[in-house]
């Protein structure tokens, strides 16, 4: 009777943990991103296309791995530049506050920049993660994953472009949207 109870208890724990463990593996395994992409895109390659992909896969994997590293480094540098710009703006805001001038436009700009920088970080991480996953697949057995990964990476690159453009526009428009208001206040 006691053994039965222990077995039932163990089974209950397994029943709870097994689905969680499976989902944990699906989160961490990068190849699952590509299998999911194949399913989502309902991708199937003709025999000829498959042969081309298999033939070009290995040299392209090296190229994509390099592209991933280069993109990650670029995003890091850009974020450093935007981060130091935020510091400049915060310093301005503190100086304005000390002289009793309202600098709330700067606060708004910093908030928008931080949001856009977080978007760029997330989009960049997804894009470089996909490129690394493509660079790690088995070229002979997974040509569909390779092609689906490329399509997915293109969509993620669009997000990276969108986030980068958003920050660029915020800073390009800052003289009219932010600084001109403060200059007016200082000149008054």
């Amino acid at each position: 009777m006691k053994i039965q109870r222990i077995v039932l208890f163990a089974l209950a724990i397994l029943a709870i943990l097994f689905p969680l463990e499976v989902s944990a593996q699906s989160v961490t395994a990068p190849e699952n991103i590509l299998s999911q992409a194949v399913n989502d895109q309902q991708l199937s390659l003709s025999v000829d296309s498959k042969a081309v992909v298999v033939a070009k896969c290995v040299p392209l994997q090296a190229q994509l791995s390099h592209l991933s590293s280069r993109t990650a480094a670029t995003i890091h540098l850009d974020l450093d530049t935007y981060g130091s710009t935020i510091n400049d703006l915060q310093a301005f805001e503190l100086r304005l506050a000390r002289q009793g001038v309202d600098g709330s436009e700067i606060d708004l700009l910093i908030g928008k920049m931080r949001g856009a920088m977080d978007n760029l970080t997330v989009a960049g991480s997804a894009y470089t993660g996909t490129l690394n996953a493509i660079a790690g697949i088995d070229c002979v057995n997974q040509p569909e994953q390779f092609m689906a990964g490329i399509v997915l990476a293109r969509a993620q690159l669009s997000q990276v472009q969108k986030s980068a453009k958003q920050i660029e526009e915020l800073l390009t428009n800052a003289p009219t949207s932010t600084f001109s208001q403060i200059v007016k206040r200082l000149s008054a």
Binding site: L60, F92, T121, S125, A126, Q161, L171, V183
Partner: protein, 109 residues
């Protein structure tokens, strides 16, 4: 009838049941937590955290936060910002052509 119920209750240990429930609850919390620690989301959070900490540290150490601001300071900063941003070329850095089928020599499918 009364004796049967008593016999059934004899093998029932509420403390064991509570401990079992606590262990299961703990595991149900632990597994998603471990999932999060191993996910790319956590890597992103760490990156954002490092950036925020660096930003906060730099602000206190190397920036002028006391002298009064005038309109010329802002005009100068606008020019400096323009210069700083000129080093960033998003259209070249994040180019769709880098991963187009044509560039990679892949079938258009």
């Amino acid at each position: 009838m009364h004796g049967e119920i008593e016999k059934k209750l004899e093998g029932f240990h509420p403390i064991t049941a509570i401990i079992g429930a606590v262990i299961i609850s703990f595991l149900m919390v632990l597994v998603p937590f471990v999932m999060f620690l191993h996910s790319s989301a956590y890597d992103t959070v760490k990156q954002i955290k490092i950036g925020t900490q660096l930003s906060a540290a730099n602000l206190n150490s190397s920036y002028d936060v006391t002298s009064p601001v005038n309109a010329i300071d802002i005009a100068n900063y606008e020019a400096a910002l323009k210069q700083k941003l000129s080093g960033i070329n998003n259209s070249a850095d994040f180019n769709q052509n880098d991963i187009s089928n044509q560039t990679l020599g892949l079938p258009s499918n």
